[in-house]
């Protein structure tokens, strides 16, 4: 498949601070591509550079073979951007907002009218289209925000955390819309999130980005397979090297290590309570979590070590991220 987007070593510096540290990836036409990373990882900054909000400090990107720095207007016509924060005119109606954004992309007359009605249907807001945005619920505002990026029927749609602060109903609605746009219209979608479930549900391939660096890029299946059979987290009163070595020797266990970096100072990142209250949490990577669990419990019983807590993390992007960074994504 041809690459509709090629990102080449993009860097963004804010003064001394390097928010994006040389990110490169390719996106194929027709795929839903996930950009996953915790708060402050540099997702929005990366997307903003690609969509031309500001130039990269260095590096570039090509869309459909056109350099974004050399042919900005041509490239921008192909992009649709749904910014992370609402970006609408609150005192205008949904329809007026959509019509305006359509015109800005050069639509007019019948085509404009058709497209506006079409995207209103996509986000199921036809009935309330003439109400001012101010009067909408949070979820409805989000839906208009998405619609505004779709009016000109872009080939490439950038969705920056479209479900943040959205009720479950609207959230499901957004998922359905994304899937339909991709399946029925063949729209390529770049979906940014720090919710790994969303990315797992929607995306074929995912780039994991942390602290401005790309740390993994593959299909979700391959990323999970790389980890093997899941992770156990056990809480004990005291852990020493002897215990860790013994656990590592158990059948089906790949590795046991003390989990330290979890208790982060960042108050926005919720760490489960047990990590604060318990003296020690051990992370056990397994080849098969079910079998390893039996061996671990038997061993602890033999040794008379009390098991204070137990988490079984089936392998998913969360554990991939944990494995790669020693940190958790949000939630």
């Amino acid at each position: 498949m041809p690459h509709i987007l090629e990102v080449e070593n993009m860097v963004k510096k804010y003064g001394e601070f390097e928010a994006v540290k040389g990110v490169s990836f390719d996106v194929e036409e027709g795929e839903v591509f996930g950009l996953l990373g915790p708060n402050g990882a540099g997702k929005t900054t990366t997307i903003s550079m690609i969509t031309g909000l500001f130039p990269p400090t260095s590096g570039t990107a090509r869309i459909d073979g056109h350099d974004i720095l050399k042919e900005p207007l041509l490239v921008k016509q192909m992009n649709g951007l749904v910014p992370q924060d609402l970006a609408l005119y609150p005192t205008l109606s949904a329809r007026a907002n959509l019509q305006f954004f359509g015109r800005v992309y050069g639509l007019s007359g019948k085509k404009l009218k058709e497209n506006v009605e079409d995207v209103l249907r996509v986000v199921s807001l036809t009935e309330r289209a003439d109400q001012t945005i101010e009067k909408y619920s949070g979820g409805m505002k989000r839906r208009v925000n998405i619609a505004a990026g779709l009016v000109h029927q872009p080939r490439l749609l950038f969705l920056d955390e479209p479900t943040v602060g959205v009720d479950p109903q609207s959230r499901n609605h957004i998922f359905e819309s994304v899937q339909r746009l991709n399946r029925e219209r063949g729209m390529t979608i770049i979906y940014t999130s720090h919710y790994m479930e969303e990315v797992e549900l929607l995306c074929n391939r995912v780039a994991i980005i942390d602290q401005g660096k790309l740390i993994a890029l593959d299909t979700i299946k391959n990323l999970v397979a790389m980890l093997g059979g899941g992770v156990l987290r056990i809480g004990v009163r005291h852990a020493d090297d002897h215990l860790l070595a013994a656990l590592s020797q158990l059948p089906s266990v790949k590795n046991a290590s003390l989990l330290q970096s979890v208790a982060q100072p960042n108050p926005e990142v919720q760490t489960p309570d047990l990590l604060h209250t318990l003296p020690a949490v051990i992370k056990i990577e397994t080849q098969n979590s079910q079998q390893a669990l039996i061996h671990v419990i038997n061993y602890l019983e033999d040794q008379n070590i009390a098991l204070l807590s137990l988490d079984i993390l089936e392998n998913n992007l969360e554990s991939v991220f944990l494995h790669l960074t020693g940190k958790q994504l949000r939630e």
Partner: protein, 415 residues
Amino acid sequence: MKILSIAWKDLKIFFKEPGYLIYLIVLPLVFILLFTTLFSASIGSTSDTNKISLVVVNLDSGGEQAEQLLKGLEATGTIQVIPSTLEKTQSDFRDTRITQYLTIPENFSQNIAVGKKVEVTLTALDTFSMSVQTLRMSTYGVVNDMLLERSILQSLEQFAAMQSALPSENRLYDPEMLTAQAKSQFISSKERPLVDVKVEVPQTSKTSEEDFSMVQFSVPGFTVLFAFLVSQATARSIYDEKKNGSFRRLMAAPLSKLQLLGGKLLPNFLVVIFQILVIFFTSTVLLSWLGMDRLSLGQSPLTLAAISIMLALCSTSLGILIAAIAKTEAQIGGVSALFLWLMGFLGGTMVPLDVMSSPMLNTISKFIPHSYAVGAYKDVLTLGAGFNTVLPALGVLLGFSVLFFAIGLWRFDFD
């Protein structure tokens, strides 16, 4: 096309916001109405139903001509004569209990009788008010009618004397001769009026022959003041656009910077033009319906249009300058409003610069675009000036516009 789309969208948002409409359209009208009514009331009522009271100091008491002048003034029906003494009148005037009085000099009657030139003095706080102008015209009219009357009487007497010297069968009142005699007297009195009415303004000791009314001052002043206040709304609109994130969408859209800025600035220009039309319409049509002095538009509407366009341009480029410099909500709101009102004051939009008569303030006003726009409007509206007279002011306004735009564009933050 895209410029128009952005401008149209902004105008829709603008006209949905009642605050803006009140601030930029209603407020200037209220100011003009207030200034026009309050100031003419304090200077003297111009309304037809009330007579203008005129304190008269007659230093020629008992003089026949002086008495006749007083009667004549009363007879106009618009003036009520209040005789007073010089001392009392002068102290009343000093304490502004009265705003104008008429002085008839000593030997007034005697001098007229011997054909000597005499002068009555109308002393007034200022010459701006209609009532002073009315008084001056009335007095002048009365005095000259009186003289004409006197001349005719004189010539009749002369004629009678001539006739009495002739034999009685020849005593004919020849109408032709009579008319010729009267005519020559009339013409000479018009050409060399014996009595002049001098208008005196003690504080500034300036005499003014302009027919000035408050509306002629307040309209140009407030038009310019409020036209420049629109630039605050433009800066605000750009700020809002950045704050609510829609600026990101515009940056992501296939728009050139020229289209983006053009679209954001065009509404400023259009709103100023709209504002000026509303103010001028109100001042010419509505004020006269309300029975107040209406604005006189001068001789050259095209020159007015040219000034208005330059004013709108200058306000627009000030808009991008403010948007580029002011970064916080407070700077966009309070600080820039304060700045614009201060500029308005220093630029002579609220109090005329010549009234402030401070050399420092006058120097400062040279660096403020407002003063040129106000000056140009006044030249056309009040003095009846044409395009060539205001051309230098238009040039200066264009210069300010270019300067503001260049700095604004240079400092503008597209991120």
